[in-house]
């Protein structure tokens, strides 16, 4: 039956996460951006809440309650607080969900327990490449068989790189197929340097260079079969779409509140149609984008291919998040341009969705 109401359990989770976002993320958003640092206590707090672990299998210590729809609901709330911090606290999903979905039994046993137990983020994923036409479906990073090992060469960027990362899942062309390889963070030939962007400045990111990095054959995620990269990309896009909706909603809400507060020519600027209609359009577009995101998430939960739905959702979110954030700057006028207020931060973060891929998984 077609319905748009979260379950009671989802509602409870959303309320908890919303409180976390309001109490812990939003107040730290500006300072985290200015200092380009994620406050480390947040990760521990998020780990306590089990934001990621709740969805991982019970046999490895997780909550066993996997749902992409729930994941989307959670991601939106977190990003409403702050996008960088949301990506940071959700970073354990990268290794976690990828290994659950595509790993061999041995890989699960080797990687999941520490990922779930650790308060820090033990694994990450490298999907984006530092070139103009980065293409998650067609990485240039390549893995070739070299005896009993894989040898990887290439470059990656926009890799979430939190303290404690021990493995990086590197997406690479593997002799005709697409593969993901668990590369130890200390592997010879791997260099990681800090990576800086216009937005998501509080999220630690690395640019990786891989020069003949050797990993054993069983480091290939899922063994010979490899991961289903379409599913991986879709799970990444649904997560990103939900985050984008959260950024847009945050921008909309501050703009709405400001417009009701701020007076010009003696009346609140929200009473001007030019502002009021802009806010109305924002609200409509945000809701539309959210529903597209939910549909893609629901498709994943049904075990179906969600490539199309995820593509539509992220397409819409890229536009909506940017337009809404830009609109919020506009509503604030001069104040939207200064870092004393949040809209400019939303704008810098929102633009990132144009190039983000697999920065989180649902």
């Amino acid at each position: 039956m077609i319905d748009f109401e979260p379950t009671e359990e989802q509602t409870l989770i959303v309320e908890t996460v919303r409180e976390f976002a309001r109490g812990e993320l939003r107040p730290r958003a500006r300072e985290a951006d200015e200092s380009a640092k994620t406050p480390s206590e947040l990760l521990a707090r998020a780990h306590e809440l089990g934001l990621v672990a709740n969805g991982l299998p019970e046999e490895f210590g997780g909550g066993g309650a996997r749902s992409a729809v729930t994941g989307a609901l959670v991601a939106e709330e977190l990003a409403w607080g702050d996008l960088s911090l949301a990506l940071a606290v959700l970073a354990p999903s990268l290794l976690g969900y990828a290994v659950v979905d595509f790993g061999t039994a041995a890989q699960k046993a080797a990687l999941l327990p520490e990922s779930i137990a650790s308060a820090s983020c033990t694994g990450t994923l490298a999907a984006v490449e530092p070139r103009f036409d980065s293409d998650v479906y067609r990485p240039r990073t390549a893995a070739r068989r070299a005896g009993s090992e894989w040898a990887l060469d290439g470059a990656k960027c926009l890799v979430p790189w939190l303290e404690g990362v021990r493995h990086i899942l590197v997406l690479a062309q593997a002799e005709g197929a697409l593969g993901a390889f668990a590369v130890p963070s200390g592997a010879a030939g791997l260099t990681a340097k800090p990576d800086a962007y216009m937005g998501v400045r509080a999220l630690p990111l690395a640019e990786l260079e891989l020069r003949d990095v050797r990993v054993p054959l069983d480091a290939r995620l899922g063994g010979e079969r490899g991961p289903d990269v379409r599913a991986l990309v879709a799970r990444g896009r649904v997560g990103l779409a939900a985050l984008g909706v959260g950024v847009a909603r945050a921008a909309f809400e501050v703009a709405r509140d400001y417009a009701k507060e701020r007076k010009a020519f003696g009346v609140p600027i929200a009473t001007k149609q030019a502002i009021a209609f802009k806010l109305a359009d924002m609200a409509i577009e945000i809701d539309g984008a959210r529903l597209l995101t939910w549909e893609a998430a629901w498709q994943l939960d049904r075990g179906l291919d969600a490539t199309r739905e995820a593509a539509l959702a992220i397409h819409q979110v890229r536009r909506v998040a940017l337009e809404v954030a830009d609109g919020a700057v506009q509503v604030f006028g001069g104040h939207g341009y200064v870092r004393e207020y949040l809209p400019e931060l939303f704008l810098r973060n929102a633009r990132g969705f144009a190039c983000f891929e697999a920065l989180t998984l649902v």
Binding site: I2, S134, F277, E285
Partner: protein, 413 residues
Amino acid sequence: MISFDPTENSNQARRYYRQMAQEQMRPISRRYDEEEHALPREWVDWYWQNARGGAPGNPGGPTDGFVQVCIQAEELCWGDAALYLRTPTAALGGSAVAAAGTPEQRERFLKPFREPGQPIWGAMAITEPGAGSDSAAIQTTARFDAAKDEWVLNGTKIFCTAGEGASQVDGGFVVVWATIDKSLGRGGIKSFVVPARTPGMRLVGLEKKLGIRASDTATLVFEECRVPAGNLLGRPPKPKAEAEKAGDPRTGDKGFKGAMATFDASRPIVAAMAVGVGRAALDFLIEELGRQNVPLRFDAPPRELTALERDVIDMQAELQAARLLTWRAASMMNRGKPNNLEASMAKAKAGLAVTKITQKAVELLGPVGYSKKLLVEKWMRDAKINDIYEGTQQINQLIVARRILEYSSSELR
């Protein structure tokens, strides 16, 4: 639970109406676009005889409720929006009777639509030459003639969809909005059921339009048009002093607010109709590109993605966003939740989205898309009405803005 899985009843309804659209509507689409105002007799009779009872299904089984109504509207407007509007049903007038009428009124006015006999129509008459979007500025008056226990209507109504059928064919009716006391403003506006061919109600013209040309958009003039007291929708009004107690359901019919609430129920359907027209164009485009082996990839390399591919992705995302907003507004009615905001969001989004989608489809199909050889140009013309009727784009933006800003209609004009 968040779910996008239609019930089997909805799936059956979709198949049923899609087949009807394909077989009964599409073959006569062009003809009745060209023969503006001609009665599409094939469709009207076929529907009256075969489809009035609704879609086959499992009456006891789970249902998507109002969402299924949206699915029906989408499929039939995928067939032809103008013919859909000409379908012999009680339509918006029926919704008003169902929403604001007494049980006796519902029985009296709606029963003929379920009985044998010739096809009949219902309609709603709100807009006036001077009023436009401003429903509260209605000038049509209703005077109570206590001696005869009748209401006497005077005024002119324009843009009355299905107004010819509803006013001219015995058994049908027009729900007319009129003020019983201008000094009461919105509170004085009531709706009256005027049966077809009531003396004093005159059909003075049909609009020649950009699109939906098979739909009879009528101008109706009311001159000393008398209807029985019992034709005031809802209970008869109490005296003026009491009537001013807003929100008291005993003060007669639900008045302006009740009538406006009809829109909350009808806007999702209108949005679904829009989605149907938009989908007609998008389906055709995608099928045509398929026939020509033009790729439509969701995973194209960024530098190779064609402008066409991106346009189609965008059209699909926009149409689906409109559809989901529509279903959400309908689904809230299933749950008995107020949906004024969500219904206006759906209407605003759907109207604009399908206007753009159909305009784009004409463009992407080149000179053939612009030509009369295909129906795509007709769908572009038909689609545009969705940006206009049942509240223009701007009116729906205004309603949305008021809700999100928590402003009254006097605070945000």
